[in-house]
Amino acid sequence: MLTVELLAGAVASAQSRPVADSVAFMKALQLESDGRYREAAPYYRATLFGADGQNAFLGLERVYAELGWTDSLLAPLDSLLRLRPADPIYRSAQLRSLQSLGREAELRIAFDDWTRAAPSDAAPYREYARMLLQRNRSSLADSVVAQGKRAMGSIRGLESEVAQVRASTGDWIESARAWRMALAFSPELDQAAAYSLMPIPSATRDSVRNIFLAPPAAVASRLALARLEMTWGAAANGWRALRDLPPDSTSVDAWIDFAERAESDGQWAMARDALIAAGKARPSAALSLRAASAALNAGDANTALLLIPLSGAGTDSARIARLYVPLHVRALATVGRVDEAQSLAASFNRWLVPALRSSITRTVAWGWVRRGDTDRARQALAAVGPEADSSDTAGWLALYEGDLRTARHLLRTGTESTPELALALGTVARIKVDRAPEVGAAFLALARADTIAAAAGFVAAAAATPDAASTLMSIAAQLYVARKDDPRAIMLWSRILDQLPQSAEAPEAELDWARALLRKKDAPAAIAKLEHMILNYPQSALLPQARRELDLAKRIIPAADAAH
């Protein structure tokens, strides 16, 4: 109460001075921006009924909030609402103030007053419903939007609130329909729609997809669906939602937006397709280069080469060397055209800055490694100079030649982080000797994508390297599984369990064996294996997974695709 009296005095003082409204308003703004809220308040109050009235009121609301005097806003609000009873700014502020003060009964009365003052306006229903939703009072919000619908004869202007209410009650279909309507008028709500619909259960998703995909195709609803699909882990569906949009400027923006998210999520194939589509509608070298880079990351080197032909790269050799040559060399090395990659690198050598030259040379060396030509890989690395000896590629070369000591050092300190590296590091860490040509040969076969030779190589290496025999046999078994050759894999798991039952790979072998039996639909044998594994390896980190798979095998819990 003291606060109110002080303010009243200050305002009287301010009003008594012949200060023009705008000068007082500017003064208030300045004081507010200086953090002098207590001094700014009387100036704002002095201009509430002038030309800057609404802005002054919002300023007053801000400084009162900073001072914790929100209750003092109610008196001037009453005066302003008597003058302009349907003004949405004042009405919204009234609801906000009453809500922050926790005056529930007055809040409801204020809302009812607003609906009477503006009978054909959706704003009161919208604002009040939003407040209720923010406080998780979805049933009351539901009744408010229903009241608005009755009053206005439609949900026009309340679409997003209806959508949020429906989502909060799990009525996903109606929520999606309302979001679709809301997006037609407010396309900027696409992120809000996606966020709201994210928890939809998988069994309902197709119905929601149909709602967003229904004609006419609208960019905002398609973009919302694409965002949803990304959060559901279905990036391909996300792109399908967008790809048939007409290639106008809003669609291109949507494609680029989707591509950015796909790039950040590592969904390279989707990013490639979106960038190609965007590039066709809005051609640019930057988009082509991004599309080529995405294609390469997606393992699609041939498309990368087609997207950025050197013939269309212009005449600025330095620019070509910086932007085009690295991608071309990588693509050519990936598809096995290492000679061409090496020639291209040599022809632009004079325009390459040292760091880029070193990187490109390592890429060429990696290409030779992929071809299994370690001599030429070494020659290529030699061209880089001494720095190349400490590269990831040099680490891989050392591994392929069986020099495990060097491989351990270089691969551990390198910049690469791939599943292949994790496998190599995990394997060499288990081997105590510094040289193991059999292990190197097996990894080299794997690098050449010769799975059969690699699997045989790891089995041979197991015989020659007893301290890592279980690891090497386990790798070989995984390779056989990848080739759908379960019988050979089972032979290896059996050897691990019989000969090396105390090894770290033994419980994993038994679990994998059970999975192979389940693939054969031999549930009883799989159950026996899983039970044996659980009982014999009670300390294994795989136990929770084994128990879950045991429950699944016994049909105690529903399979992932079960629905009802």
Binding site: D142, W172, H532, P538, Q539, R547, I556, H564
Partner: protein, 435 residues
Amino acid sequence: MPHIDQMIHKGGARRSIRFGVLLFLAAAASTAGGQKLLVPMDDEQQNHLKAYGLTYNAIKANQKAEWLLNYRGGAFLLPDLPALRREAALDGITVEQISNARVDQIRAEMAAANMDAVPLEKAPKVAVYTPPDAAPWDDAVTLALKYAGIPYTPIYDDEVERGDLTKYDWLHLHHEDFTGQLNKFYYTYRDVPWYVEMTNANLTAARRLGFANIPGLKKDVAERIRQFVEKGGFLFAMCGATETLELAIAGRTVDIAQAFADGSPPDPGADAKMDWKMALAFRSAHVEPSAYVSSMSDIDGHQVNVPGRRQPLGSFTLFNFSAKFDPVASMLVQDHRAVIADFFGVTTSFTKALLKPGVTILAFEPGAPWVKYVHGDYGKGTWTYFGGHDPEDPQHVIGSPPTDLSLHKNSPGYRLILNNVLFPAAKKKPLKTSP
């Protein structure tokens, strides 16, 4: 605690043991060295739900078990048998081997506190009233029974009508609408294939069993269930089965079904004609007269499918009973959590003002006009109602994926369901001191 491989080895069952628990338990006649297995049910327990299955199977194999009410979350005391240790290891159930001296210490501790040991002697024969084509995942109770490894027999209208209920001790009602109106989904789903199929199947069964329509059949089934309880059966129901069973019993001679279900509009004076004397739990409820309102009556406090009436979810609190003087109610609320998040169902809760005198409130929401979990005696039997559909899926909707209980193995809500399965096994006769 020794490793399980050591324990299994000690029990002489190291390798390739494929057997049913019952068979093995029968063979393992004596316990290991006068020891017991304590199955803690507090936060030490890694799999609360399967612990019930372990105990149930021990009783079923004629082993002695005890329920230590209010001790470590409602622990179980079992004989220390290799087969039980094996089952515990396979299922990831925490068990502790304790000596008889330690058992004596525990008993002394319990004697001085609000705790009691209840012997569990006879595994109840469990039936679940559920449509023949329903998957186990359709219903929270069948999910829980299946996950815990407690055997049950599915029965439906044909079995009930031919008198099979007498074969069972314990009956659970799948989320059935005993008013025969198929949860009033008609105007929302009448053209949807699953609804059409469900209607046809129920109508065919009604005609085959000699009834003109579905409400006629379901009311008769409800009456037989009432008689089952009256004669000493244990009834457990959840969700809409609770409310509609009451309405079907009280409205046995009143037309409370909409025209879409039986061809005639409901009696406008239905409320006055309902005979609540026969009902198990409620009295004086108001039957919802509109076909377009997805609600059966004012028994449900939350009215989830009625937009203007729907109430938000809160949490419910379990009542703390005297273990020594009211063991039945105590058994039903054994849990490692006293406050549990609420969950919706066609019937989510029960309006307190409509409960009959003498009904035991097991769980309530403080300050709310509804309660969540209630229990009572009826004739020689007992009934328990638990509102809501799925304790781990608070807003379950048609088409939602089934709940995977391996992801909720410590669920306090599901524990309440399983308490109901075990309590009929208790030897002690209930002495009621209801709140």
